[in-house]
């Protein structure tokens, strides 16, 4: 009986956390993976590899609804997505195997560093604005395409290693290097995130690291949370939310680094 009540408390906490993450993610305009993994590890005490594996499957669930809308409306630039996706997928598989090979402490430390980078980028964007713009480049040179393919490999590797969607790298990559307008970049990234998470997720799923109950609870929490966030978008200032989000992420990154070092 105590085990069952513990499971219920854990599920309730996970649901509440997922609801909040979905709400904030929708307003901040980024995927929930970067906040979900530290939440599962630091607050609920999950093993870092189980949290990463579970997060990847949750990313597929949450990105699919947005990607299906973008795909149906013809907003996804399939030419660009299919050009850089093979290297992203390859990166995700390599990343997943790197995480499986590394000891959990090293993974926590590396995750802390990545979250530190994401939070610093978001903090900079919310304080002094962003370079990402509406304008697009009409002709993309072959060397830029090569750079895009290389960076997308790294984005995929981060996704597979740390259970994040990688949109924080993919959107600026598609916008600034591959020359897509920002809305097309967001739609294309959303479509790519699911495919990248699939390739990484399969590696973890085959090893039994994915927690199905957590996936179900998180998915059921994130979806209404994101819908609520999208509805509140007009009333709240996205810049302020991004600032709060980046500070929470900064705190999570610091705690991950400290717990990995001590």
């Amino acid at each position: 009986m105590p085990a069952l009540s513990g499971l219920l408390i854990n599920a309730c906490l996970l649901f509440a956390g997922a609801l909040g993450i979905g709400f904030v993610s929708a307003i901040a305009g980024i995927g929930g993976g970067s906040l979900l993994v530290p939440f599962m590890v630091l607050v609920l005490g999950y093993d870092v590899k189980v949290a990463i594996a579970t997060s990847l499957v949750c990313i597929i669930v949450t990105s699919a609804s947005a990607a299906s809308i973008y795909l149906g409306r013809g907003m996804v630039d399939l030419g660009t997505a299919l050009l850089i996706e093979p290297s992203t997928v390859l990166g995700a598989i390599v990343g997943a195997y790197v995480t499986l090979t590394l000891p959990a402490t090293y993974v926590r430390f590396a995750l802390g560093l990545v979250l530190l980078y994401i939070s610093a980028t978001m903090l900079k964007e919310s304080l002094i604005g962003t370079k990402v713009g509406e304008t697009s480049v009409t002709k993309v040179s072959k060397s830029r395409k090569a750079v895009g393919v290389s960076i997308s490999f790294i984005a995929g590797m981060f996704s597979g290693m740390f259970g994040i969607g990688g949109g924080v790298i993919k959107v600026p990559l598609l916008n600034l290097i591959m020359g897509l307008p920002i809305k097309t970049a967001v739609a294309t990234s959303s479509f790519m995130v699911g495919l990248t998470a699939t390739s990484g997720g399969v590696v973890y799923l085959a090893r039994g690291l994915t927690d199905p109950l957590s996936v179900a609870v998180i998915a059921l929490g994130i979806m209404p949370g994101a819908t609520l966030g999208a509805k509140c978008l007009r009333r709240l200032k996205p810049r302020i939310v991004r600032l709060i989000f980046s500070l929470v992420l900064l705190y999570a990154a610091t705690r991950l680094l400290v717990t990995a070092l001590t």
């Binding site: 699919a64 997928v89 598989i93 699911g194 998470a197 090893r207």
Partner: protein, 88 residues
């Protein structure tokens, strides 16, 4: 234009989630975890199924460049699936 892949993406994950939830109940009552695993695989393989549908559409439109790129992505994902199953 891509209505079918879009529908697969939307309803694939919902189906996977429903199967997983049913599987969790079955696991609790009968101690069988296979249904949950099937649900997880449905979720994970939904984007791949959507991409295969896109690939077929590209083939029917005779867009050779995009079709080839989609085939490469499909091949890499399927290869990773096979390798993961063989090396677990």
């Amino acid at each position: 234009m891509y209505r079918e892949p879009s529908l697969i993406l939307r309803y694939g994950v919902i189906t996977g989630l429903a199967v997983s939830l049913a599987g969790l109940v079955i696991n609790e009552v009968f101690g069988v975890g296979t249904v949950t695993l099937i649900g997880m695989f449905i979720i994970v393989l939904t984007p791949l199924t959507s991409l295969i549908t896109i690939s077929l559409k590209l083939a029917s439109k005779k867009d050779l460049r995009k079709f080839t790129l989609s085939q490469i992505t499909i091949a890499v994902i399927i290869a990773s699936l096979i390798i993961s199953m063989l090396t677990k």
